[in-house]
Every structure is written in structure tokens, then in C-alpha cells.
Symmetry: D2
Subunit: 262 residues, 4 copies
């Protein structure tokens, strides 16, 4: 009998068909972040046990747009960029587990299948969406500069409905890019049993973080944020009561696995 | 602490955000099937232990295009059809396990995230693709009829490359819609460990089949089939040596879970 | 010097590159129509001179979803269906010119470039959109039947915003498929001068209609219709005051040119 | 009777619905250019009278990928970037008219409807395509730097078929960004008569060029280029016999109309 290879499905004799190669995975891109406070009860109800709300500022939320180019260690995707570029919008809250504070992505939309597959491994609850964010460019009137007064828009849609839109106006260089997404991620990986009524086939809590990080100057700014309702989404329940801050930063990140927490 | 609900991620207090609702799932659509023989070694190398090649005709392959509309038990997706319609192209072989013959999908491309998610549960190794098949229609010159001489084209592309194309010309009514996809499906559900080098978090063999089925008259026809190479796909290794048959059939199917085999 | 060939751009030595072939063009598809009354002033302001409002029921509007498969005389597109299938949603009013009543499309969204190009020739003011309508199917719970009680949803989005959604519930067979889209079309074909401030390079009024038509039984039904605002669209200004009727019909149509009116 | 407003269709009482606003139009983006020589007869046959081949190097071709963000004078599109961002791949040759050398776009694919509409005005023969080019980024391993050794891939597909792919490796700063696309553009604007057999409704030769331009350092590099055949495209007839050069440059451009040549 044969063995089959591949980091993920579909497996084959060579492993070449796998939807994604094995980590490490490398990312270069721009992050546009809006941090705000919502009703802490809305955050708490998204945290399954054994997670608890973060001890301080438990209603803090970050909604982050990212315009990525990514690749595996061999980096061949970079020369066939349809396989390297994707965009995402994700919503992060904080939580507490075993005395430590974690970040946790509660909603996320991406626009490529390889990004969905990575999320499956990392525990990001990914759906497909249509994501756009203004790109900075050094020349012409078709783009803002990364400088005071630079204005960046960002939008999210899924299933032909707009779900979120933000406008961030850069104000000044900043020491941070926000605090909500600054901890290791605590995510669940879950798959129901194929047999109705049986316990899940997989239900585990995992931790992971960046295996490498470099970044340019972060900029802080002012933000407007609007969330819209949809029959299949609950993002709008995380209603913004107060904007904490907004940020733009160019980053390079590597990811290379994590560990099981529970 | 909270509990969260939902058949799949993202989980929430209500379960409304889940990428897919719980089964049963209902499907109405048209199947265009081409069955052919390839080198049995190419099929065998895609069957991980404990699966073995089917005892008879072990090089038989079915490539199937399906143009689906689907919904959950409440059927509300049917009134918001962006959430109900999807297309897929999938490749099925047969295998043997514990003395029984199973069908097994070795490659599959779909064009919606909810279809990817259902595949995750059912063990279909889904990627995103761009799938098209000619639709029959009773009026006008813009479509074939489901009748002798009706010609149907079908194509598959992924990552901006064409991977497969077929043309099927209907010849006569048929008692069957082919034999390769006619058994219960034997699929693996797999997720690597979050910890590099550790055994998989999930690696199980599951069986499932239709929980309900109705169909119109099947038609048999003649087929041309071309498969194309790609850096990330191995479909073209299943080279067609001999066409067995081709079929068109309109079907209604229900799916409602399966059972664990190993 | 060379001559170049092709019905439309890009022209080449052979004409094979043309975005669309020359007419006749053939269409097979399903139409879902909602007719309603809006403020007649909203219709009148969309009718440039020399057009005038229709003498009777001048506030009548039809919003029509169509799920098409189309081809040229040689029909080769039907075997490469990515080049044959498209969907559209269009809004039709009536107007009067030289003592005759015409239909006129004031807004239309399609999802393929060949459909945009045909509209350029025919005077349809096409934009790209994302259009979906429920498909009938004879088998399974994933689709309504074309029968009393059959429910069909239809949606329109553009630039990641939902612009319209309708639900039609079939009630009974009908002698007509509505009246607003039942006249020859009176459309403008327009292109500004390349020189700022100069008169248009083209500004003509043309008439066209079907060169061939066959259809199945029309069904009448009840409808809900919602229109949504957008920064770049004015569809929602045609606010529905009263639903006139709703219809479903399968049709085959041919189009083969028209004539210049003014 | 009403007048209607708008730079292009659909026209309305306010002009807000127009697919594109009036020029000037502003662009910020990155250009990846491969210049090569093909059989001059293949270029000549694409030049309709009164155009003649360029007197020197008449087989020179530039294939250019561009990753744009664009806006009108008010720039509101930049805050709703789904309306500002698009990509294109276009093929430029040179020609001669009235003793002067012009550039001329013979094939072009874009991925947004507003870009199609601008092309209609400017005489670019636009189709929809799927276009990707590697983006430079200053951080991480997910992107090349704009520096010696930086490698950029670029691909073009349409109708689910890959049409072109290039890889450019930067070598050194360059004084130019190539010469084929360096002249004013000479384009035809064409629309057939609505009446079969009649002369075109519009068939004019127009000239236009940039109304504003700024740019960063151009880089020259080495290129590989592959063109692929398709039933509906003739790009592959412009077969590369010899690579002339390859370039990367970040530019800001404005466009504000042109003039009629013939």
C-alpha cells in the first residue's frame, strides 16, 4: 500500500498538490488597524471556556486590514504572485488563560484559498470576503504618502454585502501599532464528528506567535469606523462605543508553528 | 465563562456566524461526468493505507462537473442565492477497504467558501477554482437541449491556469450515470499538529453517502477530455488512456453525516 | 498599409481577437421580473430629450434579473461556457418618441466583459456587478420548481455593496411577462470628445428589438423588493411606491442590430 | 423635457451614476516592463491605415504590467479603494503618422469596469483579465526589494486561460524605463453602426499623453517572457525573438484628454 505526502490535502505521491506547503511561512505587507472599545459582554460571549476575559480593558477590540504578499521557505510563490498575494480583514480581542493574556481572532475574512488553509492550521476562523485598503505610494495623486495627513480607507464585504468600512488619517509617528493584537494568539481548532450527535473529532486550544518580525515606523492616526449587519455575520454586534486609536505599519512576519495549550 | 455555538467556526453566542449550518444539506443540480481509464499505478499511489486499489478496473477515473444550488434544512439560502449556488469539478477513483469497494475523491475544486467548509467536514480535499459547464435550456439557440446531439462543454481553472476541459455529446438515454462515483465515499479528514514534528492532530478515515437521492433520466454520450499541467496540481498525471463513457444527469441529493471507519 | 478586422476592439489581421463577434447574438435564459410604480418625476428626469415620458403609467419601472447563456452564430462559445454564461440585473422604464412608446434601460449591471461590449453596441449603460437569482430545478430540495408556491430570490451588488434584493413567490400561470420591457428599446450611444470642452464624438438615439423570440409559460407572482443606496448609484431613487406584478419566464432570444432614430 | 448629466453612461439628473467621472484622472503605481523584438510583419499587420510601421526597430514590442491606484480630481475613490485599485497588462508597439512616431496599445486587459470605461474614452482596446505582478516591500521575506537581485513575477490570464508570464530580475539603476511606450499614444476609437452593413458610427484616430508625470528611479533587469495561445487571443502571435530589456519603475501619472488626429 502507498503512503501519500503533503502538509495538507489533497495528498499525493509527491506532496506537490497540497493546498499549502509546510511552515515556515513568510509575509510582507501593510497593516491598517483601528482599536476601539465595545460592550465587554459582547467580547466575553465570544470566549469559550477555558478562556476568560482579559483582566484590563476587556471590551477592547482591534479590527485590522492587511494587504499581504506571502510565501513558503522556497519562495517560489513570489514569482507566480497569484499564489502569493492576498488581503484580509480580521477582528482581534484579548482573553486570559492560565494567568496569561492572549490575543484571539474572533472573525476573519480572506480572499484566497491558501489563506483559508493556513487559517485552518493556525485556528483562524476564516471565511472568504472582498477586502480592500488604500495603498500608500511615493508618486502621484493616486495614493497617500505614509506621512501626517495621509488618509487610508478600508472596506470589507462578504456574500455581496458590505460589512465594515474605516477611514484612518495619519497624525504622527507612534511607538506602537496598538495593543490588542500584541499577545500570542490563543485559538481553537475544531472539527465536528462525522457522526451526528457524537463529540467533536477535534477541539483543541493552541497558541502561536510570530517566529520572526521586522517593521517600519508605526504611525498613529484618527479613525472613523462603521460596521454593518448581515444575516450571516455578527461583526456588527461588536459595536464601537469609543475609538482607542488607529495605526498604519509596514511589517515583515514569519510564522512557524505553535503549541497545544489544552 | 461562556459557551459558544455553531456547527463550524467562527463560533459565537448564537451560532449564526458559523460558516456552515449543521447537516442535513440539500443539493439540486446537474452532473456532467466523464469516465476513463488511466494507468492504475497513478490511482494506486493516491490511496494511502489502509486503502487498497479496487479489485476490478483499478485505473478507472471519473471527472465530474457539478452546477449546484444547495441549502440547509431551513432553506433560507435559496432566497439569497449568492449563499446557495456554487460549481465544482471533482475527480473520483475507487478503492477497497475491509473487503468493500468505496469511491474516493482525490481532487476537487469549488468556487465558494461554504463549499470548502462542507468539504472539510466530509473529507473532500477542496481548493478554490473557476468551474464552468454548459447549461441545458429549453428555449433559444444559446443552450443545448437534454437530448440526442446536445453538446456540453466543461472547464476547470485554478490560480489563473486552465486545468481541464471536456466536451460531451449526448447520444441516448442511459440506465446509469457511470460507476466510479457510485459507491459510498471513503475519505480522510486530516489536520497536522500545531507543533512541528508531532503526529497529526486529526487523521481519520470516514465513510459517507447520500441520505436522499432523486434524479431525472441519465443520458450517455461521447466525450473529449484534456488535462493540463500546473506547478501546483497533479491532475494531469491521471492521463486519460481510454474514455469509458460520459453522462449527463439532473439530480437532487441530501447529505446527513457519515461514520468513522478508522 | 494594413487593414485590420474585427467587429469591435481589439482589431487584428484576422478579427479573432475582437471582444465580441458580429451579430446575430443568441440567448437562452431565465428572466425574473418585478414591475412597480415610482414617482413619475424620478423616471422623467432620466429621459433626455427628445424622449418624453410614456403617456400612460409614466412611473412604471421593471427591474429584471436574467441568468443567460449566449453565443454568436457559430455557437462555439457554448462549448467553452466561461465565454457564454453571464448574469445581469437591469432597470427598464418606458418613454415616448415620435408618437411611439419605447422601453429604455436606465441602469444595468452584468458580470462579463463580452456583455459590457454588447451593451456598448446596443446602448445599454452597463457596469460590472455581482448578480444572483435562484434557479429552478426539477429535483431535490436545493431549488424551487416553476410552479405555484415556488420562491425565487434575486440580488444585485456592485463595488462590494448590495444594491437590490427581491423575493418572488409564483402564484399562477400568466399571459404576460409584464409590460414595461415589452416595447422596442430606445437607447443612446454616447462617447465624449477626446478634446475637453468639445461636443461629443458620438451621441445618437438608436432603436432595437428582438430578431427572434421563443418562450415557455410565464408565471405571475407576488414580490418583495428592496433597493439600497450607494455613493455611486442612483437606483434607490427609483423608490418602489407600489408593486404592479412579478414574473418568471424561460426565454430564447436573438438580437441582430437595430436602426438609428436620431 | 429633461437633460441628463454624466461624463459617461449611465446618465442621470445629477451625473453621479456615471461609470467614470470627467478627467483629469490620477494614477499612482508600479510598472513592470519587458521590451522585445518580434517579426515586424506581426506588428505591421496590427496597424490600420493611415498608420505605418515606425521607421526604426519596427518589430519592437513592450509588454507592461501595472498595479494602479487611481482617482478623479476629488480623489474620493481613494477612501473606498475597491473603486480606486486595478491592475492591467498591456502590449504597446510603435507606429508612424504624419511624420511622427507614436506609441500604440494593441492589446490590454484590466480587472475593473471603471478601467474599461476609461479605455473606451482613451482608445485602449480593453478586455477583462486577471493580472498579477510581484509587489516590492521593504520588510520581510514575502517580497523583493527594489534593488539589484530583486525578482518580480508577472502573469496575465483571461477566460480562465493563462496568456502571459514574465520574470524580471533587477540588475542596476537605469536612465530609462524603455522606449516603446515613450511616445504619445495614437489610438482608434470605434463603434460599429447599429444598422448592419452601414459604415461605423465612430471611427476616429486620437492622440493623447500624460498631463503630469513623476517617477522614482528606474531599474533595468533581465527578463524571461512566455506567451500562450488561446482561441480568442492573438497575443502569442507577437512571439518574442529577442529580449531588448526589462524595467521596474514607480510612477505617478495624470491624464487629461487628447486631440483628434484623423
Amino acid at each position: 500500500m502507498a503512503s501519500v505526502r503533503g502538509f495538507l490535502h489533497p495528498k499525493s505521491a509527491t506532496g506537490r498538490s497540497s493546498l499549502i506547503p509546510s511552515p515556515p511561512w513568510h509575509y510582507s505587507g501593510d497593516l491598517l488597524t483601528v482599536e476601539y472599545r465595545t460592550d465587554p459582554a459582547r467580547v466575553a460571549e465570544l470566549l469559550p471556556e477555558p478562556l476568560a476575559p482579559a483582566p484590563d480593558d476587556p471590551g477592547a477590540v482591534a479590527i485590522i486590514w492587511a494587504d499581504w504578499q506571502s510565501c513558503s521557505e522556497q519562495a517560489e510563490e513570489l514569482l507566480d504572485p497569484v499564489r502569493a498575494q492576498y488581503k484580509e480583514c480580521f477582528v482581534v480581542v484579548r482573553c486570559s488563560f492560565a494567568g496569561r493574556t492572549y490575543s484571539r481572532c474572533v472573525y476573519i475574512w480572506v480572499d484566497k484559498d491558501f489563506a483559508i488553509a493556513r487559517g485552518l492550521h493556525q485556528g483562524y476562523p476564516k471565511k472568504l470576503g472582498s477586502i480592500h485598503q488604500t495603498r500608500p505610494h511615493p508618486y502621484g495623486k493616486g495614493a497617500p504618502r505614509i506621512a501626517a495627513g495621509g488618509r487610508f480607507g478600508a472596506t470589507l464585504a462578504a456574500a455581496d454585502r458590505r460589512l465594515a468600512e474605516a477611514v484612518v488619517t495619519l497624525r504622527e509617528p507612534s511607538e506602537s501599532n496598538g495593543f490588542v493584537n500584541g499577545h500570542p494568539m490563543a485559538h481553537h481548532r475544531f472539527l465536528p464528528s462525522i457522526e451526528p450527535g457524537e463529540p467533536p473529532a477535534l477541539d483543541e486550544l493552541v497558541e502561536s506567535g510570530a517566529a520572526g518580525f521586522e517593521a517600519g515606523q508605526a504611525w498613529a492616526g484618527d479613525a472613523e469606523l462603521r460596521l454593518f449587519d448581515s444575516p450571516t455575520e455578527e461583526l456588527a454586534l461588536l459595536e464601537p462605543d469609543e475609538i482607542i486609536g488607529a495605526y498604519h505599519r509596514q511589517v515583515g512576519v514569519a510564522w512557524n508553528g505553535g503549541r497545544r495549550l489544552a
